[in-house]
Amino acid sequence: MEIENKTVESIPAVTIRFAGDSGDGMQLVGTRFTDTSAIFGNDLATLPAFPAEIRAPQGTIAGVSSFQVQIADFDILTPGDNPDVLVAMNPAALKAHLHDLAPNGMLILNEDAFEEKNITKAGYKVDPRQSGELDGYRVFQVPMEKLTKEALEEFDLPGRAVLRSKNMIALGLISWTFNRPLEDTENWINDKFGKLPEVAKANIKALKTGYNFGITVEAFHHTYVVEKASLPPGEYTNINGNIGLSWGLIAAAKKANLDLFYGSYPITPASDILHELSKHKNFNVITFQAEDEIAAAAASVGASFTGKLAVTGTSGPGLALKSETISLALSAELPLVIVNVQRGGPSTGLPTKPEQSDLMFALYGRHGESPLPVIAAKSPSHAFYAAYEASRIALKYMTPVILLSDNYVATGSEPWNLPKIEELNNLDTNIITKLNTEDGFLPFLRNVDTFARPWALPGTPGLEYRVGGLEKEEGTGNVSYDAANHQYMTDMRAWKVSNIANDIDKLEIYGDESADTLVLGWGSTYGGITQAVNRLNEKGVKVASAHFVHINPFPDNTLEVISKFKKIIIPELNTGQLLKLVREAFLVDARGINKVSGEPFTAQELTDKIEEKINE
């Protein structure tokens, strides 16, 4: 659709935020725009944000749901800081998000929702369009509801169903503004509503109406294009962290020649892992929706005893409930992966917001001396590899492993350069099928390199053995209250875990290695920290970064890396948990940049704060 007087401006990147009522379909619009941009070849990163309530009262701030996406023609690592474009479907969405909009940003309002009732509900005393507070932005008022009704008049659909399509007006208009073709979304609509052709046609009509509105209305004649990014060559898919993590588990099971067992109790934001794995039964995946968090973990221990790659997934409060069961797996020395998709805490906290505040709990949240490996995913696509690595360690070392993700990694998405499946390493297990001594089977006779005990599976004749949470005698595994044996077994369980330091990737330095300052991070702050280091290096500020995937044990070169720098800065979405660990383990005067607002760091925020710390 060429238009004579259209001005197309090429820009390197744009951040767009769609905001509306929970029922307005903003997540869908955002996802569609993202997928179209991914197929076009942009680099991108997304940040969905939704309320914990499924349908909070319409028109209120509490009910606002949003989706932010940054698309770029270069390699980006975050979903952008302040949006350049804000689409607000009602006054509440405007009120909740306007303060983030970049100066002179483009503001698209659903004009029809700005009735007095909605304006009051959003908490405005006067219509924000008249109060002057929108000065400094480029405001476009679009009668989205009127357009939808007119466009869909020809269809035999009830009134409420008609208005549901107004999100397609918004998507069409944004597609026009950023020169995105509609074909991909049209195909998607036809797929989704295959059984309801009338609804499919209506949605496509609304989409096109939005697009054509851009063509017709003079205000929109200035459009933008973000060119393809020069990403490394390869085949890409757009992946979010929960799906990446799920696939990593499936891949690990397959490469270990085991079946996957996933025990879980529904909890935000981890439930999507349960949903995803439930779809893939043809990979011999057993998903078990348990009666509670404890049963989910306990059944996973039973599955592990029986020879499955056993995984139990949850979020913060659920991890607390699983604590005793994790200790059992640790004491019985059974492989188990515990996934914790962190959210704001304590207690029910902020169920739909990211936080990194369970690190200490993952490390120390058990009774007794109970060390276990802790691994963290740093981005949506990395969640695949982190899940693979957690499984590798659990199986190789016969130990429970805690895998930390968070809401930001879990629900955000990014392009993933697909790995070659045949190049993923096979995973070793300690499965034993024959006696390991001439005199009989010793279930706690350890591998001399890994200290792992053999894994005898029920069904194997001659290896019948009993295991439990009482202290075991080294070798025989019989219950033992012997003083020296308990000392030995406690030390052995700790050695086993610390020994893993030699079997994991080294800590790598990124950025300016000659700098005096090192920014250390873990988990989902990876994108923000890396972007900040890039920005600082570009403007001549000397700084480097390093990012932990393994937090227990730390990679064996950690001290060497830390010793190269005079100043260590640790940004975290908590009040300083890695900070304490690093100070304690390496006796360095590290400083934290900490935030627990339920929001991730923006790249600019980190850039500014790191620079401040450097200059302190």
Binding site: I243, I286, E291, G302, P458
Partner: protein
Amino acid sequence: MSKIPVTYKRSDMQSDQEVKWCPGCGDYTILASVQNFMAEMGISKEKIVFVSGIGCAARFPYYMNTYGVHSIHGRAPAVATGVSVSNPDLSVWVVSGDGDSLSIGGNHLIHALRKNVNIKILMFNNQIYGLTKGQYSPTSEEGKKTKSSPFGSVEMPLNPMSLALGAEASFVARSIDMDRDLTAGILEEAKNHKGSAFVEIYQNCNVFNDKAFEQLTNKETKVANRINLVHGEKTVFGEDGHKAVVIRNGIAQIVDTKDVDESEIYVHNIHEENPSIAFSLSRLSHGPYGPTPLGVFRKVQRDTFTEEVHDQINNAKEQKGEGELDKLIRSLGTWDVS
């Protein structure tokens, strides 16, 4: 299960670990009953898994020369669910006590029964907390004086048979430690049952709650107090069968046999789909006091969780083919960058 019948001696089923219950504990008798039964049940011992929680009874797996997990308090049904669904070929047995099953593990018990997981749950009910040295349990009688209830327990006890029936259990039975034949018969019925089986075994704790079941074991009183439930037989009990059970308006009642027409006497049917009569039988006593039914209350067939999970997996493989990682990671659509 193994196709060739396997028989063992009792000693083959015994592990090399010394049994450490208190001398005179009812658990010894039950262990002997179970070991004798297992030796002849025709399943290879590598296919047998015992799972327990915490408590005196929970030490049971250590004494069986099979696979075993001594897990954590109350969670044995959940652990056993993981074992059973992971390998449907296994014969999975849970050993638990009244505190383990009905107090800390109540949630797991009801859900394992509801789901009809293919596990056999043996709950040794001694109506006391033994391992923690004598506090009242969820089956202790009201008024029970213990260390934690010096003025008498003020709690209504649970009726384990009623609870299991209410939890949609497909197999519900009760035995008593001293009656080895009854226990062996119930174990055989449980073994042959597809799905979860719940077996309460009254067990004397001679240290903290001695003679709790005396009315059912004492020579003088047991004939009057044991209502033996036998499938297909008239429910009469007492000396010369002078007492009988009848069902009136759906409610089980005890009557003098001579006062009723013979045709009114309840003929026990373990396969009755409707659990109401079994429930009503479970209400004839609330604890081992007075006439108390023993035997199989209910045994009905329905789909098991264990099998259905695997049916779904097999269906998925038939429909979609064995999963391929290469296809999986491309399933959301891809694009090429060159």
